[in-house]
Amino acid sequence: MALPSAHDGTAMTGLADSRNGDQGTPPGAPPDAIVDAIAGADVRRRVRFRALFVATWVVIIGGLALSFIAAGSFDVEFLAEWAPFILGAVPLTVFIAISSIALAIPLAVLGAVGRISVAAPVYALATLYVSLVRGTPLLVQIIFIVLALPRLVPAVNEIPLLALGVFALAFNYGAYLTEIFRAGIEAVPHGQREAGAALGMSDRRIMWRIVLPQAIRIVTPAIGNEFIAMIKDSALVSVIGVQELLWRAQRVGSANFRSLETLLLAAAMYWILTSIFSLFQERLEQRMARSDR
């Protein structure tokens, strides 16, 4: 932003003025003209940078779009006809991402508490969960839950595919978030636990009232990153027939031999979604940085 630096400039000018008024220019203090000139050059440099940035993007993206259309391989009318149907899946994609991460977080809290437990079986269970889930592909886990798990637990067949997809994503992300939460818990200064203990609090109360609330604040930015990754990984549940963004794009595309158009649209939508949430997360981080100690 150009504004702060211009503001700094005027503040410095004001300082220089008062000095001049008091006892003349002290040695080494720059005259106003130079201060203004430096501030102005700063602003111009930033504006030029931004302008070039935007121009570069416009040229690349616009050029690609035009070349597609010019080559005749890109059917704009077809896309206009089917875009509402494909984009109609955006709310579902967002819903999948939000509900999966919401389910993964409590799972991760439990996992993290297990990963720092001194009880060997609890620690072993949590470690097995993390190792197993992180050591196998997410795609395998999703397909396994739908195709293989019903052989062991027939009741799984009764569960809607959407719920199974959300569960698979949550189960997987829970393992990654477990390690994030564990690191967050370990990042809370040891003195916090001592202060709780010195007040006579039980270990459990120290964990839930003192350590975890602070750990959650520490890991909030990392959860944001995981959420953005989740928006993209939600596309994987299309393989089990959940009719989200990628599923619709693929169906419409392959049925009409127009996959270029539909997949580009889906990709653009994922990009827009992740960009929106990245921006949102950036703001959140800035605000937390301000209010933090």
């Binding site: 200064p189 003195g191 916090q192 001592e194 202060a195 709780g196 203990a197 010195a198 007040l199 006579g200 609090m201 039980s202 109360r205 009232r209 003192i210 609330p213 602070q214 604040r217 209010s291 933090d292 100690r293």
Partner: protein
């Protein structure tokens, strides 16, 4: 000063090993009600370890701590299992601890810090806990900061808030672990003033600190520790001004020669130009306010 009462806390033959490092060689201390005991000594003398053994934040290797009917024995091999935990928590509820770096809970306001343990550990009714908290916040002159978060307070205010938090549990004994060592020199005074007030009002206190002015003003007894043993013990004027033991003399000579100004009776004002930045205090022999 309030007349001393019966013994409220008794530590017997406390020894501590860190691995093979023998830090405490058997330190005993019986503290009477209303008494203020000050532990001094160079870094590594074991004074902080001893203090932390009193509420089992550090598990002693040998020895026991008694408060009233409660007696907690060292259990290095953990033969008692979980059975001892309630006793330790009981002991901790009866002792308030102040830390070098305050350890206020940053996600809670000052008031929430103060009522957390009374409500959830002692089971005090929340309204009552708030009334008590406000009383003690007023005592440390932080009542107007009750809804502030610790991040927005100075070091001196944080330590005073931590004192209020400890007082809210209405403990029998207050343990101070170098409470001013992490403070900028100009903020030490406000904490010392509160500590002196507590001592004069009859709080029972065990203080590890390098604030010799506080020792003269408020302590009933000073213990000089070296190498994990109590080398010398007595009233502050005797230990500080007329030490009998050679190690004490040496320590005080070096300590005071690096301090600066002569002491006055109510010398709680810290700033000495020779002081290092506050945090160097605890680990070095630099000091202030002493002299002789």
């Amino acid at each position: 000063m309030v007349a001393l009462g019966d013994v409220v806390m008794k530590a017997t033959d406390i020894e501590k090993y860190f691995g093979t490092n023998h830090v405490l060689h058997g330190v005993s201390l019986a503290v009477r009600k209303h008494e203020t005991v000050m532990l001094i000594g160079r870094s590594g003398s074991g004074k902080t370890t001893f203090l932390r053994c009193l509420n089992f934040l550090e598990e002693p290797t040998v020895g026991s701590v008694e408060m009233g009917d409660l007696k907690v024995e060292a259990d290095p091999l953990r033969v008692a299992g979980r059975g001892r935990k309630p006793d330790i928590r009981q002991l901790r509820q009866q002792t308030g601890m102040l830390f070098q770096d305050f350890n206020l809970f940053p996600h809670m306001t000052v008031l929430q810090n103060c009522i957390e343990a009374p409500v959830h550990v002692k089971g005090v009714n929340k309204d009552e806990a708030v009334v008590t908290a406000e009383k003690y916040l007023d005592k440390v002159q932080l009542l107007e900061k009750r809804d502030e978060y610790p991040a927005r307070m100075s070091g001196g205010q944080k330590q005073r808030a931590a004192i209020a938090r400890a007082l809210c549990m209405e403990p029998e004994v207050l343990l101070f672990d170098e409470p001013t060592s992490a403070l900028d020199p100009e903020l030490i005074g406000e904490v010392i003033v509160v500590m002196e007030q507590l001592a004069h009002e009859g709080s029972t206190m065990i203080v590890v600190s390098h604030e010799m002015a506080f020792a003269r003003e408020a302590a009933d007894r000073v213990l000089y520790l070296e190498g994990g043993l109590v080398v010398e013990e007595g009233p502050p004027e005797q230990v500080l001004d007329d030490p009998k033991q050679e190690p004490t003399k040496q320590f005080l000579r070096r300590f005071l020669s690096e301090g600066a100004k002569a002491p006055t009776a109510d010398d709680a004002e810290p700033p000495s130009p020779l002081d290092p930045a506050g945090n160097a205090y605890g680990s070095s022999l630099h000091g202030h306010g002493g002299g002789g």
